[in-house]
Every structure is written in structure tokens, then in C-alpha cells.
């Protein structure tokens, strides 16, 4: 079956914006994703080396209530997975595949994915958020840091894009 077409970007953007508005009105905070990834990684580190994790100056405080997963963004992340899955299923877009450009093998793609993921993990900790928690949520509140982050992110991505063109084009 042919997957359904994507929705109009402005329509999807307005829907996303109304969801963010709902988040501010009900939760009192914006939406985020990188915080949950950090929490889950910290919990995994805690399972392997509890004392080292608890004494870490950055993540140690997350275990004071017992589990680092006892945090609202972890639940928002679970929602992201569920909402993304249901939408993809409905549109016929679920497929187990390594997505890559026609000229790239899975090995190259996955190696670069690991590099990129590491950079995104480190970068979002420096920035105290990612494209969700900073760019989108901070941008809607017109925060200077959100625009500094967004500008730097897009400038850097456009500059690096020619170097990894083989992966995508």
C-alpha cells in the first residue's frame, strides 16, 4: 500500500503550535525531548554503576527522589513514541528500515548516525534543551537564548551539509 501523503506544513505547524499552547496553559511549561533522553541514559548508567551516577555533579540530583525517570518529560517522551506510532500506522508509514540516500550504505549511515547522535546529546546539554525545549518552546516565549540556539543550529547544519552529502543525496 502506498503511504498517505504528508500533511501541509503550515497546517501541521498550527496543530503543533496549538499543542504547545495547551502545554503552557495546562502544564505551565513547554514541550521537550532531549531531557527525557538524558534521564533515560542516566537511569541506564545508574543500573550499571549506581554510586558513580549518584555522585555525579550533573545527574546525581536526579536520583534523589529514587528514580531519574520520575520526571514529566520522560512521560511526554512516552507520549511522543505512542502518538508518532499511531500516526505512522494510520498513514501506512511504519517500516523497519535504515533510512538513507541512494548512494549510501547502511554501514556508513549508521556510523554517521552514531557521530551525529553523540553531538546532539552533548550539544543539547550545553544549550539546556533542543529544537523542542529551546527553539520551539523558548521561541514562542520570545527568549533570546532560543533564537541564539536556533540560529547557531541552522547555520552549523547548512555548513556541515556538503560534507555529508553522500549520506543523503
Amino acid at each position: 500500500m502506498q503511504p498517505r501523503p504528508f500533511w501541509n506544513p503550515y497546517l501541521a505547524g498550527i496543530g503543533l503550535g496549538l499543542t504547545l499552547l495547551l502545554s503552557y496553559l495546562v502544564l505551565g511549561t513547554g514541550m521537550g525531548a532531549s531531557g527525557a533522553i538524558s534521564r533515560i541514559a542516566a537511569q541506564a548508567a545508574h543500573a550499571m554503576a549506581p554510586q558513580a551516577a549518584e555522585s555525579s555533579p550533573y545527574i546525581g540530583g536526579w536520583f534523589e527522589g529514587g528514580s531519574a525517570l520520575h520526571y514529566y518529560l520522560v512521560f511526554m517522551f512516552a507520549g511522543l513514541l505512542a502518538g508518532g506510532f499511531l500516526s505512522a500506522l494510520h498513514a501506512g508509514r511504519t517500516r523497519l528500515v535504515v533510512e538513507r540516500g541512494p548512494g549510501a550504505g547502511s554501514g556508513l549511515r549508521l556510523a554517521l548516525t552514531i557521530l551525529g547522535g553523540l553531538a546532539v546529546g552533548i550539544g543539547s546539554r550545553f544549550a539546556m534543551g533542543c529544537t523542542s525545549g529551546q527553539a520551539l518552546s523558548g521561541g514562542a516565549l520570545l527568549q533570546g537564548g532560543a533564537f541564539a540556539f536556533t540560529g547557531a543550529t541552522f547555520a552549523s547544519a547548512f555548513l556541515v551539509a556538503p560534507l555529508v552529502q553522500k549520506e543523503w543525496r
Binding site: 496549538l18 525531548a33 541506564a44 512521560f75 533510512e99 546529546g121 550545553f126
Partner: protein, 196 residues
């Protein structure tokens, strides 16, 4: 009274409502096509500016809504959790993040949607991003001073410019409309160039 204000964010009610908002978040990202790393990265090759269009229209929708409600007295902006500004770490973080975005093909939220759609590269990306976060944590003592450089609790653009927040939201709307026109022109130029 929102949950953050009442200190209820990290409790059963906060978790349940975060789950619902997260599901809506994931739904819209997937509908926009952001469960695909090729779609996401195509903006960086000037082909498809959906990333810019979705992000800017979401930002403007929420910003206008919030600031109109605040101007009418329905929302107290000071009761919201504001994402912190620390300009220099955010510039450096953004430079590292942007390189990772185009190399890895995902950002954290879209990677969750990609993983849920079965994209193996998204699953690997999420594991690597988690590892990256632990790398930062393990080096935290040597970067802590820099990581809080330029930290200010509220560094909003309207405050810096001395205008009202609603004026700021309207200004953002104008910038976004300009960006939509510019992005569409670039898409047309790029499509014409590729069809030659």
C-alpha cells in the same frame, strides 16, 4: 493555576497530562513527515523547507495565542516555566547540535517519532544521543563555568528591545511570513535547477 505553578508537574496528574500532550506532539510531527530523516535533512540541501515552515508556524501560533491571552488578562506569563537563556553555551551547543542534526539526520523529538515508525537509524541515534548526554555529564566539572556563562532568568527579545511582549509576538509573525515567502522561492529555484 497551571501544574508547574502548583508544583504538581512531577506527580501522577502531571505525568498523565504530559503523556497526552506528548502524544499530540508526536502526532503532528509524524503528520508533517518528520518521522523521516531524509525529509528532515532535505532543508539543508535547499530542497524542502518543511522544517522551517512547521517550526515557524508552530512558534507563531503558540506565541500569538499566549501573548493575546496574557494581554486580555487570561494568562499570567510570570507563572510559566521559561526556558533559560545562557547565550554563549547556547551558541556553542547549537553549533555542535546543528552538525549532529545533519550528520545524524534527527533531532531528539523527531528521532522518537522515527523510532516509533520503525526507522533503525532513529533508534541508533537515540542511543547515541543518550551516550552523548552522559559524556557531557562526565565532563561537567570542567565545563560547568562555561555552561552557565551569560545565564539570565529572563532574557526575552521584547525586554531587550523595550517593547511589549505582544508587539514581540507580532514582530515574530512578520519575520515568519517573510521566511515563508523566502523559503518557497528557494524551493522553486532549487526545483528548477534540479530539473535542468
Amino acid at each position: 493555576m497551571n501544574l508547574f505553578e502548583q508544583g504538581l508537574l512531577d506527580g501522577p496528574l502531571g505525568f498523565a497530562l504530559s503523556l497526552v500532550i506528548g502524544a499530540l506532539f508526536g502526532f503532528w510531527l509524524e503528520r508533517a513527515g518528520f518521522g523521516s530523516s531524509r525529509k528532515l535533512t532535505s532543508i539543508f540541501y535547499f530542497e524542502d523547507f518543511a522544517v522551517l515552515k512547521v517550526m515557524f508556524s508552530a512558534m507563531v501560533t503558540c506565541s500569538l495565542g499566549l501573548h493575546l491571552l496574557a494581554a486580555g488578562g487570561y494568562v499570567d506569563l510570570s507563572a510559566l516555566a521559561v526556558p533559560e537563556t545562557a547565550v554563549w553555551p547556547q551558541v556553542v551547543g547549537g553549533l555542535v547540535f546543528g552538525a549532529g542534526f545533519v550528520t545524524g539526520g534527527w533531532c531528539p523529538g523527531t528521532a522518537a517519532v522515527g523510532a516509533a515508525s520503525g526507522r533503525i537509524d532513529a533508534i541508533v541515534f537515540l542511543a547515541a544521543a543518550g551516550a552523548g548526554s552522559l559524556v557531557f555529564a562526565s565532563l561537567y566539572e570542567s565545563v560547568a563555568d562555561f555552561a552557565s556563562k551569560g545565564l539570565c532568568a529572563s532574557c526575552s527579545i521584547p525586554e531587550l528591545l523595550g517593547v511589549s511582549p505582544l508587539m514581540g509576538a507580532l514582530g515574530l509573525t512578520v519575520v515568519a511570513l517573510g521566511a515563508f515567502v523566502g523559503a518557497t522561492r528557494v524551493e522553486q529555484w532549487s526545483a528548477a535547477r534540479r530539473s535542468q
